[in-house]
Symmetry: none
Subunit: 253 residues, 2 copies
DNA sequence: TTATTTGTGATTGTTTCTGCTCACTTGTGA
DNA sequence: TCACAAGTGAGCAGAAACAATCACAAATAA
């Protein structure tokens, strides 16, 4: 790797993570810490980043981090398995819709591998993940920013969604119950999800077992409106029997 | 193989792989490293690639990444003064529209001081700046992400904008000319700006002196459609006379 | 043909890059 | 506030890459 390329990688790394330690960079790039320091010094001189004691930070950091840090995310492992299955269902050339939430975020992280994809989402975090993928066309729904989830909701979101038709929509949820169907605590969010369902050829619901049996304030849809559900293998027996009873397509991962 | 052919091969190789070492090229073309170096030197002089220690890299990849940060820094001081003036024009309770670009970004940075404000923008960078201000209600227009400017454009953006009416819109531009009016290089962007103008009670144009006299590919609007212009004090005399001639309201900062 | 120019490869001294060491500075927690 | 760990910069040395030069061969011109 040339010096030029290395420096560009550093800037890119710092932009992406908003920060980077000398150690990290040294390992990441396979060069000594001396070299990293030299590079950082020059990059700072050309105003491409700001040095700090121990590393560097991005100058104009556009970085939308989840309110819940990934490590603290409960059921992360389940979510990743669910996302992995979801990605298997996507084909190159698809137009897909990603709902907000931490489960769908895991999908976004895995999308880089595709070479031709249209993605539309209402999640700032998912967008952040995809913003530098040159081979993915990313759109966002407009709307009002919910500052706790960094997702957009509201009439503008619905209006934006009216303009698109997608092959597959991947929906997250707060509650999932055989009788009450899919529910979430927020009215605007529920309306947004309903609209998402209506613009997708195929709707795929993602939920780890902690969501099952939960019923929240606002109803989004009945279970039968889903085309497929991806659940984890700790899903209670009873719920699975219920799904079979509804003749609903599902996968356990 | 003639020298010309060889040089073209080199450029082609570098473009294709985004990089090439002297060794690689020497082997690939069956000539000595001396020759490769000579060629690279001349190719760099004719600006067909960029030399590095050990080889060369494609120009495209260089420009891509340098685009944002480099642009951000030029005329920063002017932009801050312009933004400062713009912020003075905003009142608590206003609904304002922020265009994308680095000048309007400076406005976003200064908005934290307000206690009650509705902001709508198509700029991911501005959104980033405002996302954790609890006293500001931030909305974003939907749309397709332009990965180089991190702004949203396109039909979805326009559709979102149709849903709002704002007190003041703050517009940036690439080109500003007495005869040709306001112009930008991107068609979608131009359409977005036009829509912005149509939903605002008052349109305020922001431009540092580097924009003046510039004419880009797509026309956004005539100068007379602006309600106010904020320019810096290095704006050429002739341009200011022109503004007066048009009876246009302006401020120099 | 002969003289001259041009392009190329080899050689050589010089420059640049990189990792290491070590003395010094900075940040942190007791 | 002090001590200690972590991070830093300067200098050095080896390796790699480089520019300059020369020599030779092929193309061109006389």
């Amino acid at each position: 790797m040339f010096e030029e390329e290395r420096k560009r990688s550093i800037v890119h790394f710092v932009e992406k993570h908003t920060r980077a330690s000398v150690q990290e960079l040294s390992q990441e790039l396979g060069v000594s810490e001396s070299t990293v320091r030299r590079d950082l010094k020059e990059l700072e001189e050309s105003r491409l980043l700001k040095r700090t004691h121990g590393g560097a930070v991005s100058l104009q950091s556009v970085n939308f981090e989840a309110a819940i840090p990934e490590k603290a995310d409960r059921y992360l492992d389940e979510k990743q398995r669910i996302a992995h299955k979801a990605v298997e269902m996507i084909q190159d050339g698809d137009a897909i819709l990603l709902d907000g939430g931490t489960t769908t975020l895991q999908i976004a992280k895995a999308l880089r591998a595709f070479s031709n994809l249209k993605v539309i989402t209402n999640s700032m975090i998912a967008l952040n993940e995809l913003k530098d993928c040159r081979n993915i066309e990313v759109s966002i729904t407009g709307g009002l920013l919910r500052q706790d989830t960094l997702a957009f909701v509201g009439p503008m979101t619905e209006r934006s969604l009216e303009m698109v038709r997608v092959d597959k929509a991947f929906l997250g949820t707060n509650g999932l119950d055989l009788r009450e169907g899919i529910t979430t605590p927020n009215m605007l969010e529920a309306a947004t999800k309903r609209k998402m369902i209506s613009v997708a050829k195929q709707v795929i619901l993602l939920a780890d077992h902690s969501k099952i049996g939960q019923v929240s304030f606002c109803k989004v849809a009945d279970l039968r409106e889903m085309d497929h559900c991806i659940l984890d293998r700790e899903t209670p027996e009873g719920f699975i029997r219920g799904l079979k009873g509804l003749d609903l397509d599902y996968t356990l991962v």
